[in-house]
Subunit: 354 residues, 2 copies
């Protein structure tokens, strides 16, 4: 069985600003280790897909950064999207590439900006998913929840099929806290991590059924692959498409969906507040990157120090980030307000810091 | 009546670090206006004492900074202390200088690092004190308390004497909060601001009675004033003296003490938390100096921005100071922990930031 991978590196979020910038979004940051998340992701799946079998999808602005980060990946495997059109289009393009080579090959889809603590268990889970996918199912990885998280979508387990996979009873939108708590207790709900495994022909078939416009665009792009006309064709076709996620556009609509349960220390690194999920905290719960000048009576903080010393005292549950040109201070629970700060910087003409 | 002034500029505290540094302590910072506190203090008393009648007491390390700040003051009026020996010695030295010129002249003693909102009322209060001092009393200014402050010493009012002055019933050490509250309600207790007015001969007499060693040292220094031997004599004599405050060494022991009540918007600027006493806060209670990049949902904070933009969200009662080389973040209520940060920097060999 051939297993291809596509790493989705098209993200441009601002939740890790000012660490992340327009030219260097989260997937290029070494948040969970000394390597960028993108590099960690590529390494993590290298035992499953060869470099030739690994695609990376990204925006035009980040193509050269991807190439520099992942030198082993052939240049033609970097799938550049001139306009961002969300995951359905990105996955469709990758599946079209794979289908030209091996229509029945398995394709695994991995966000470039997630962290995984136990790579072995992660790969074991992907292997299980690939087996389930071989027979035509669209397989999603469901993460065993560890807290009543209200920021994720959930997958409800259905009947078991073969080899540890299950049918999917339903996809559920982000729940309120009471509901999330009941999900956690029931054991029947898993986090939707946006990690998918399917045969190239299976996902293209599902796209044809549920996103016909995308299917038509892919059909027009397909003959140009490997030719000079490819880039122009992609640009022309993507521009006409709506921005739709694979979850909403396909996964929630098909009936041959399966889920494989995973428990491998996953984090989507949703904000600075999630740093303790991926970095060891000190005995007072502080996660510190870089050299702090002095910390006195601080607990459960997330600190990114730059070249200058930080002097921090009496802080609790606080995020402090010094990037040299900008200093961010925000309570962990208000991490989502970073977006408003970015907007305020934009409005005030401070775009060079974004 | 000749009125001399001595501005006590010997402070070297760290409570405004990293704004203040060893080479530039608080009195040199423009905390309450665009002028350094020292300059404001000198301006404030200029209508009462001529430049020739104004002395400034400071450490050797700050003498040239004082000269640069106060160009009108004659160089011989800058009283340099080679070693810091607290207020008793500083005031004794100034009184000795004044006594050589006019023994019965009135000397007013003013800390260099306080802020006053209403200069007119302040001067009116000093004039009242000078009148009371003319007859030989040692006069202290008592500030009408505006909150149950536990960080100050208090002066208990005694019987009225003449011209609005009162006898002092007692000096009280920093009270606990319940006591401070009862003081506030009683109307009989005033804050001891460390502002004193007395005749030069009167304070020298009191020093002779209660700090005989200091009196002897001053007697040995006096003949050297205006000669080449002066600096050496001061160094030699100060070194032998203990460090004693005028409050503890003299004021609390004499019986010819009087107090004049003052109500002129006084602040001793004890820490970053006291900034709202001297700077206008915005509608959300934030006192901001410099250009902040963006503030979202912040209230009652004290912010000193440097050249780089600060991005602050969701902060309440927080102090953020960016001096370019150091960034301080500390809750207002923990302002006193700045001292521990300074110690930590010292221990870690980061002295160049102190």
């Amino acid at each position: 069985m051939s297993v291809y991978s596509v790493i989705l590196a098209g993200g441009s979020g601002t939740r890790f600003w000012p660490l992340s910038r327009a030219a260097r979004p989260k997937q290029f940051l070494p948040l969970a280790s000394r390597w960028p998340l993108l590099v960690e992701t590529a390494r993590r799946i290298a035992p499953l897909s060869t470099a030739r079998q690994t695609f990376v999808s990204c925006g035009a602005a980040h193509a050269s950064a991807v190439r520099r980060s992942l030198k082993a990946i052939p240049a033609r495997n970097i799938l550049i999207e001139p306009v961002a059109r969300n995951t359905a289009a990105a996955i469709g393009l990758a599946a079209t590439q794979v289908a030209l080579r091996e229509p029945r090959a398995v394709l695994q889809v991995l966000p470039a900006d997630h962290a995984v603590r136990d790579d072995e268990r992660f790969r074991a889970c992907l292997r299980e998913a690939a087996h389930a996918a071989e027979h035509g199912s669209l397989v999603t990885l469901g993460i065993r929840p560890t807290r009543p998280e209200t920021g994720y979508g959930y997958i409800q387990l259905g009947d078991p099929i073969d080899g540890g996979a299950f049918r999917v009873k339903s996809f559920v939108e982000k729940p309120d806290e009471a509901t999330a708590r009941s999900y956690l207790q029931s054991g029947q709900f898993l986090w939707n991590a946006g990690i998918f495994v399917f045969r190239a022909d299976a996902i293209l078939g599902a796209i044809a059924a549920h996103l016909p416009k995308l299917a038509e665009a892919l059909a027009r792009i397909s003959p140009t692959i490997g030719t000079r006309g490819y880039r122009a064709a992609v640009g022309r076709e993507l521009k006409k498409l709506p921005s739709i996620s694979i979850d909403y556009g396909v996964m929630e609509k098909v009936d041959n969906l399966a889920v494989v349960r995973g428990d491998f220390g996953w984090s989507d690194l949703g904000s600075f507040a999630s740093m303790p999920e991926v970095r060891r905290a000190d005995e007072r719960g502080n996660v510190v990157s870089g050299e702090v000048g002095a910390m006195v009576d601080c607990e459960n903080c997330v600190i990114f120090a730059g070249k200058r010393p930080l002097a921090l005292a009496g802080l609790s549950e606080m995020v402090v980030v010094d990037t040299g040109d900008v200093v961010l201070v925000v309570p962990k629970r208000d991490s989502q307000k970073v977006r408003q700060l970015v907007q305020a910087f934009e409005v005030r003409g401070l775009k060079r810091y974004l």
